[in-house]
């Protein structure tokens, strides 16, 4: 089954059309990287899929169900979670609370004001699990705002996966990282998205080729190619548009 399907998706802001009929199919369990030159509309595409902006045309299906016109929280409840290019955390809350907030809805606590947070055993265990996965146990009681950059990026991924969504969108997860930090991030992403569908925007080619089963190339709001990493590397159009000389 297709976890995510974009059918001729269009988006214009005023007169300028940013996404011009992008189509993409990501099957369940697949790891797809979206690459493309600056301004190609990669982040915009993510914003459309996650419901941040409404689409102007076409359709987006999540697990076979159209999510066009839905608000972000509705799409999230259907099993899609995303991270942000610029860390988007709850800066005054502790690392632990950041993650716990992200698991509450999925565990069914919703808007409860009759249950004590401290007594929610499953939320606590899930939070500790994610804390361990992203390797931030030592920082559990520190406000998210004072973490180092790499730690904030890890927490960003932690919040995204904590709710247990099966389709994960990561927007440039390794942007601004050093080589070693980025290697650690790749390892982290591979581990926490085990068995899930992953779609990510990424500039760093070593990250892309290290993680992706499939690469989609977005140029001027259109997916010009979508294939296995080896075929993309050999594709002449892609080389011309993006990778430069081989």
């Amino acid at each position: 089954m297709n976890a995510l399907e974009l059918k001729d998706v269009r988006k214009h802001f005023g007169k300028s059309e940013i996404i011009r009929g992008a189509s993409l199919v990501v099957t369940k369990g697949e790891r797809c990287a979206i690459i493309g030159p600056n301004g190609a509309g990669k982040s915009t595409l993510f914003n459309l899929v996650s419901g941040r902006f409404p689409i102007s045309g076409g359709d987006i299906c999540l697990n076979g169900r159209s999510v066009a016109g839905m608000r972000p929280f509705e799409i999230n409840r259907l099993g899609l979670a995303r991270s942000f290019q610029i860390s988007n955390l709850f800066e005054k809350l502790s690392v632990y609370d950041n993650l716990r907030c992200a698991v509450l809805y999925a565990l069914g606590y919703k808007y409860s004001f009759w249950q004590r947070l401290g007594g929610l055993r499953d939320a606590h265990e899930r939070t500790e699990q994610v804390l361990e996965d992203i390797g931030l146990q030592r920082q559990r009681d520190v406000p998210a705002g004072v973490l180092t950059y790499a730690e904030q990026r890890a927490l960003e991924i932690g919040i995204t996966i904590a709710g247990g969504a099966d389709v994960i969108l990561l927007d440039e997860p390794t942007a601004g990282m050093s080589r070693s930090e980025s290697d650690a991030a790749v390892e982290l992403i591979a581990r926490v998205t085990e068995g899930k569908t992953l779609v990510m925007v990424e500039h760093d080619m070593s990250v892309v080729f290290g993680l992706a089963d499939k690469i989609a190339v977005l140029v001027y709001g259109e997916v010009i190619a979508c294939d296995s990493p080896a075929n993309i590397r050999a594709n002449r159009d892609v080389q011309a548009a993006y990778l430069g000389e081989p």
Partner: protein, 431 residues
């Protein structure tokens, strides 16, 4: 802050918080003992007013401090709660005991929270603030349009001694009203604190810090704000009902923008960042509006100046000052700042004295001139028509300014140093 090892293991995931029980017990004891300590004339009435203002402030801080919702119209809920409570007391067919009248106010406040909150909480930020301001003006205007319910200019009066005395409790004597208010204050405070420890309470903090991200982890920010406002309006209604019992009168002023602005002022002075901030703010608020206004016609000027000083020098409010000082004491560094702090404080106090002196002279000269030119201040008699007292006030201010200039920079530098040391110590603890 040490990462709790016992918590990380998942065995004892809810450590019994003994200190928390201790704090609540102390709070209850303070409430019980307050009338025994403050026995002078109007002390009971003042304590009762502080009590109702505390509930009102705490309910307001659910919005402002915990949810980042700057409301200019919170008195709508306490005021309408008060009106419903007073009508329930006056209605001959309803036999709600006075003890439980607060619930009538609470439910009424909550009802209007459901109604108005649906509109106001659709938006956050400035839009929310503007809508609440419009709403409070709307309700205030209607209160004058429907004199049958709101009692017109004179308001609605009642007699709190009604029904059968229950174990001799008639709520005639002020002491009984005080304990009624104290009881509700304790219950409401526990309930509102408990709210901060629930899933909704924590998500409210998340909505305050980053509403956008909240939408991407499954929550509708509007629902979080709306539910919170309804609960907050319930407690506001309780405080309104209690003030109706206390004063035996409710008027249009109870639903005014003035009242709404006052609670914002007091809560901010107390400190919005801490749960107990509004408790401090309520004490300060009643001190200015009830006690200081007895002694000086310039009390509003003093309140305004004090508010500006808090915003300028302690934007976290008095409770943040208190917590910062406690932190310095906890890390054993108070000795380092004691002497410069005392010097700075005495300069400030001296300047304050000069300022008050000058303001009082000016008020007497311009407003009370009919009573002659002699004014009694601090137990002394001064003639506002002679130059000497004016010169003295100016000299005090000038001296204090010079002293402040001399002592402040050194103190600030030292304060920064001490806090940097503490921050470093905390970081060492984590890493």
């Amino acid at each position: 802050m040490k990462p709790g090892l016992n918590r990380a293991s998942g065995l004892a995931y809810t450590p019994l918080n003994l200190s928390r029980y201790l704090v609540w017990t102390c709070f209850a004891l303070v409430l019980l003992a307050a009338p025994l300590v403050f026995t002078k004339g109007a002390a009971l009435s003042i304590l009762s007013q502080i009590g109702t203002l505390m509930i009102f402030g705490l309910s307001y801080n659910m919005l402002l401090g915990q949810g980042g919702m700057l409301s200019f119209g919170h008195a709508v809920y306490s005021g309408l709660g008060a009106f419903f409570a007073i009508h329930a007391m006056n209605h001959s067919g309803l036999h709600v005991p006075t003890t439980l009248i607060a619930l009538v106010g609470g439910v009424a406040g909550m009802g209007f929270g459901v109604l108005f909150g649906y509109v106001t909480t659709k938006k956050a930020g400035t839009t929310f603030a503007m809508i609440t301001l419009g709403l409070v003006e709307l309700v205030f205007a209607s209160s004058l349009m429907f004199p049958g319910f709101f009692g017109g200019e004179g308001g609605v009066t009642t007699n709190r001694v009604r029904g059968q005395a229950f174990f001799g409790i008639t709520y005639g004597p002020q002491i009984q009203v005080y304990y009624l208010i104290a009881g509700w204050l304790f219950l409401s405070t526990v309930a509102m604190f408990a709210f901060t420890q629930t899933p909704l309470g924590r998500m409210l903090n998340a909505v305050r810090d980053n509403p956008e991200r909240v939408e991407f982890i499954g929550y509708d920010t509007q629902s979080v704000r709306y539910l919170t406002l309804i609960l907050s309006a319930f407690f506001a209604g309780i405080s309104g009902a209690l003030s109706a019992i206390n004063f035996e009168i409710v008027s249009a002023e109870n639903v005014s923008a003035m009242r709404s602005g006052a609670v914002l002022l007091f809560v901010f002075i107390g400190g919005i960042g801490f749960f107990f901030g509004p408790l401090v703010g309520a004490v300060v608020g009643v001190f200015f509006t009830v006690m200081l206004s007895e002694y000086s016609a310039a009390w509003q000027l003093y309140l305004g100046l004090f508010f500006i000083a808090v915003v300028r020098f302690a934007p976290g409010g008095l409770s943040s000052l208190l917590m910062l000082l406690l932190r310095v004491v906890k890390f054993g560094k108070f000795g380092r700042i004691r002497t410069p702090l005392l010097a700075l404080l005495s300069c400030t106090l001296f300047g304050l004295l000069g300022l008050v002196f000058g303001i009082e002279l000016l008020y007497h000269l311009t407003l009370d001139a009919a009573d002659g030119s002699v004014v009694t201040l601090f137990g002394w008699r001064f003639d506002t028509h002679s130059a000497l007292p004016w010169l003295a006030a100016a000299a005090m201010l000038l001296l204090a300014c010079v002293g402040y200039r001399k002592t402040a920079p050194a103190y600030m530098a030292l304060w920064g140093e001490v806090n940097a040391d503490i921050a470093a110590a905390v970081r060492r603890d984590v890493a």
